[in-house]
Symmetry: C2
DNA sequence: CCTTGCCTTGACGTCGGCGGCAAGGTCTAG
DNA sequence: CTAGACCTTGCCGCCGACGTCAAGGCAAGG
């Protein structure tokens, strides 16, 4: 399988695949003419990468998952390093949720306050001609 | 007030203040020697900018708030444009919260699954010596 | 006079995950 | 023989809010 086919089957771009390679996540063989050659296993790896990226992981976070898959596991999540990253990411997400909740509350307060001010101004305009 | 003093009083850097200026958010006068000179009002403006940045606004989002302050309002939030931005940002935050909730759920599922797998493996190792 | 400490503009670096383009090699069909 | 559809490496661009020099001007104190 050449890079174009893998890109299409994995739902990504050749550019992204080369990028993953420069960052040590994918290791294709090379054919005689220098073309990158991928086997079926790499398809699963790339799909794992894409899934984790979509969830908000960075490439560095993803590396343990790829290593886990490459070690023969059916899932990239079962190795200790992966679990550690999952835990860390969960904590990060929780922190993000907390921040967003606080921000949301503040935005609602400010909106309410602003609207109250505007209505007050409206009233003044109507009662003081 | 020169730029250094404003930076210190507003809790930011001179670099940031010059950056805000190039983006049209702050308009200091100039003294004879070319130094930027700020009055007290600018301090409030900069604090407003900082507060909104901290909440996750971009400089473009902040512009209406500054204009509102400059128009003489006690708060930068009471003008229609500001309210529109507040509404939009609230919607964005809500969307972000939804996404994070979904991600969190997926992370929890994957963690639970991974740990279940590991315990199963442990059991197999103990029962098949 | 010299140092110290403020100020000025200008321009490049940061972070991440690529997109896009250039210049060229390779393979296949007609 | 040629067109076109692949592939290669390499390098710049992007977004946003600045950080970080660099090179120099201005003011004040000893």
């Amino acid at each position: 399988m050449l890079i174009g086919e893998l890109a299409e089957r994995a739902g990504t771009s050749t550019r992204a695949l080369r990028y993953y390679e420069t960052h040590g996540l994918v290791r294709p063989a090379r054919s005689a003419n220098g073309y990158r050659v991928y086997d079926e296993a790499e398809l699963h790896v790339v799909r794992e990468i894409r899934a984790l990226l979509a969830v908000g992981f960075g490439l560095d976070d993803i590396r343990p998952f790829v290593a886990c898959l490459r070690a023969g596991n059916a899932s990239g999540h079962v190795c200790p390093d992966s679990v550690a990253v999952l835990r860390r990411k969960l904590a990060e997400v929780d922190a993000g949720l907390e921040r967003l909740h606080a921000v949301r509350q503040e935005l609602r307060d400010q909106l309410a306050h602003a609207i109250a001010q505007r209505e007050e101004t409206c009233l003044r305009l109507r009662t003081t001609p």
